[in-house]
Symmetry: D2
Subunit: 318 residues, 4 copies
């Protein structure tokens, strides 16, 4: 008898709300240095997108006392798929109910991860319409290539710190229907890192263990540029602007992402990355397992993973 069919109800990770204690500096970072654009400003929040993000926003930047993540959101593949996932989430007791939506998208169902991160899922969305000043030359692109700063192309993925790895793994595979494409499992059988995908990107949500025991924290979010060379250019630009570079550019062994990690002025870790031409098209991808010994080898070309990468998250733990 064949296995049950895989779930294809979630289309992609849609956006992240980032909290910043330095809203002006953070905004300048995302616009001037990263090359993103503002769609709308409302209350304490500014809604931003990269030039080829098709939705109203992929980043909601909200002023707050501390850095961290307000929430993040998935987009479902269809109205029916949304209903199915909401039913599955409700069954877990993690559901928090419907909201009328936010700027840029329709009704969203709110829930938390087992670790307490705020999440939403929705289907109805507002496609970004370029105006006179950012109309692209090629109509298959959401808006004009900015020619400014790092020229981020599109939102790529999110990485969250998590205390309860076991429950979180189960939730994402069984309830959301995400595939675990790669995992770090230590010799004692505990997972230290989980990489989930709901589509052909090799991952959209990464979950790494939070050693502090404080649940629900944020590790980083990532935008993709078109080439590894552009990641190098981003490093040059960050260098020129005094942006703190935590580590990179270098290549991850896990997922092979070519990465650059910086801290945006509000204190949140931010990644500029390029996945090269790597995709997962196999519907029956076999989870890649990295052992404790594997992880000790460091990054792909031997760079030792910087200590802060294992400890720093937002909000910071006192």
């Amino acid at each position: 008898m064949p296995l049950p069919e895989p779930i294809y109800d979630v289309a992609h990770l849609a956006h992240v709300e980032l909290l910043t204690p330095k809203p002006n500096e953070s905004l300048r970072f995302f616009i001037e240095i990263m090359g993103m654009s503002v769609t709308t400003q409302q209350g304490d929040s500014v809604y931003l997108r990269a030039y080829d993000d098709y939705e109203h926003h992929t980043l909601k930047l909200t002023a707050a006392r501390q850095p961290g993540m307000g929430h993040y959101a998935w987009r479902a593949r269809s109205p029916q798929a949304l209903q199915r996932r909401v039913a599955a989430i409700e069954a877990t007791g993690l559901g928090k109910g419907w909201t009328d939506g936010d700027l840029g998208h329709g009704p969203a169902y709110r829930f938390t991860t087992p670790d307490g991160h705020n999440v939403e899922i929705y289907y109805e969305t507002e496609w970004y319409q370029a105006g006179e000043t950012d109309k692209p030359a090629l109509k298959n692109q959401a808006s004009r290539f900015p020619g400014r700063g790092a020229n981020l192309r599109r939102f790529d993925h999110l990485n969250i710190l998590t205390v309860d790895m076991k429950a979180t793994r189960k939730f994402h595979t069984e309830v959301l229907g995400a595939r675990l494409t790669e995992v770090i499992t230590f010799d004692d059988g505990t997972d230290k890192g989980l990489w989930f995908s709901v589509n052909n990107k090799t991952y959209e949500l990464a979950i790494v263990e939070d050693h502090t025991g404080v649940p629900g924290r944020f590790h980083h979010m990532t935008y993709a540029v078109n080439s590894r060379e552009e990641v190098l250019l981003a490093a040059d630009i960050c260098l020129e602007h005094g942006v703190f570079i935590e580590t990179g550019p270098h290549k991850h062994a896990i997922q092979q992402t070519f990465f650059l990690y910086v801290y945006e002025p509000g204190g949140n870790r931010f990644e500029i990355a390029n996945p090269t031409a790597r995709l997962i098209v196999a519907p029956d991808w076999k989870t890649i397992e990295w052992s404790e010994a594997d992880r000790k080898k460091g990054q792909a070309w031997g760079l030792k993973t910087i200590e802060s990468f294992h400890t720093y998250g937002t909000p910071p733990v006192e």
Copy 2:
């Protein structure tokens, strides 16, 4: 009432059987110049793959009197999905029945496009297992980066010439459940080019009108490299080896692919390409329509499309 849900039964385009009247020269081209590897040789066919193709092969190279395409194949997302698509195909009358499969994959259902191209769809497949000499340093890669020639990473897409554009469009959207991501429609309402995707690649199957009136011909197949820079390196390598470069490197307006078109020694057009970080993650992507006037603008940066690109296909028409 919501629309019916989209079909997600086909995972990806899996392989192409290419016919060559110069099997030795073609084989040398794919191994030495393109950097592919042989998995098996059997009868008149050699089975090849790029270094990160996960299946037994993505290219079956078969000796023949004339260049052209023997068949191509889709992989379904699950056994159930395979059955559903087979039922749908059978209902069209284009079905030709099951085969026991081929080297590298299990039972396949054979059918033709409305234009007569031979196609197969299957689910069961043999994952490529790297051996001592091609074991990759990173376990999330199918085999070792070759460091040879153009270093093709993975099969990307197929382009077929078609006389009956209308029937072909209908078949792929309604029967296979592919999404039409971009289209060229002339002022008289006829389609001249169709780009279909079944996943997050922006296209896997392109269909262009065959002006000769001869149905079922092959235009080109394409492998992806990791960067636009590697497409340029491939051009240098082709130049050094006397490979005929038809056009490029340049950037397509349609789909924005950075392309290089060459003819392999057997006479088939072959493309080395890089998609940059462009993907389609929106489940409700709106088909991009290019008009007759749009197409006259040439490629993205103004290169006029070379005449042979509109006329040459294999087998050649006498």
Copy 3:
């Protein structure tokens, strides 16, 4: 008996004065789209430089009724070298006498090429001093990487149209001491293109035959970016801003330059290029000779040289 020693009196091509009938549009092009910066504005001229140009300016943009070139300048290697070259020039009768210099450099000796182009040679110069807003993070760079538009790094070379190829060749080799690194010589023995270098760049001054018979015209000037990938990015940026792309990106057979030719708003041809790692370090480089047949092959990867490249120059010929 050994040959006489080569002349090493000229250090490099220093700057070009470009004439534009659309000074505001041209200025915006060089600043916003090309990423250059203004050092000074004076009278009808604006003095610009790329971020790693060490002198006060490499481009003097001057308002004029017609596009074209006002003059260009060489920098000598030392005061003594300057005197020697001036003496040699004076002996040819092409000298026009000393000027007190211009903004950014000291006394300059004026002369013309045998074809009538205005040229200067000087030694004393003003090194550019970056200020608060453009101070580079690395002190071995003239100013900050702009992160704006095409991010031109440095002035690379100049190409002038010339009627009297024979006299021009003789003048540059014998009087200035330039080395002819590559040449196009047709079957009838006439030179069609000359590439001269005075240092390890493979060329700094290119001279191509002007078929119109009008002497002293300008073909194009070129700035270098750090990679071929950045030339591709420049093409994307030009596309987005409606800049006319004449040809490219592609690779020249001659000198192997990876090129992109555009027309700046004033009508002058302008090139963004990358030389890869190619340099000439041999002191006895043997001139590379390209024949009429060679030239018919087109550019390196087979692109046919666009017709306007052979005919268009500034000022335009009525």
Copy 4:
């Protein structure tokens, strides 16, 4: 009164003789992994070159009991320039007399650096003539682009460990006429690193202090590839072949070189690098001075310099 004119008698660094205790493994490394080619094999030495090196060889690989450097060589700009430099060297007492030359070049004058490294200078050389199998498509290139491994283009520079920094600095500036383009000088006034150029490359000879007190050792030699992307590809290739990667890819603050350091199988450090479009064309370049504090900042993007980079050299110190 003007300063004395700069000396332009030395054209470029020409080759290095590398000693290896594992000649077969080292040879395979340079051919298969680095993409170099053998010109000749004679006795215990193999003569190699990168595809665009114009001379007979730039690397002489000699079997020996220990890794290290046999000698290195400069090429003079002319026969007269050679005689002048030989006279200047002889006057220092460091001269060792003439040899008849070696395979690939004519008479060479032997001398040592003040630290005891063996050096030669010569003028007459044998230009490499490509044969049937490595004839380039473009005649301005020394031989065919290999499409193999790292595809090194040309010899770039040499770095030697030195105990007596003061004497070595004086020797290179005053006797050879090299320009000191960058220097690390600590707070106590002692130089820790010296970067010399005799042409428009920003450096060809780097000299770093040897803390062991053992004179005359070798730090590394470097070949250039055409782009930073190709340095990344070289890292991937080294990873796949188990080549020890010491550090990188990353960007040096000093000279801005994009670097990758590996150990070839014989134990010698070897660098694959790209200089981007950076050149020094100013004849009066002002030495860039890096302080003790500057050096503590690490590499350009913040990578801490790996400890072995300061301690490891060949032959190793017991």
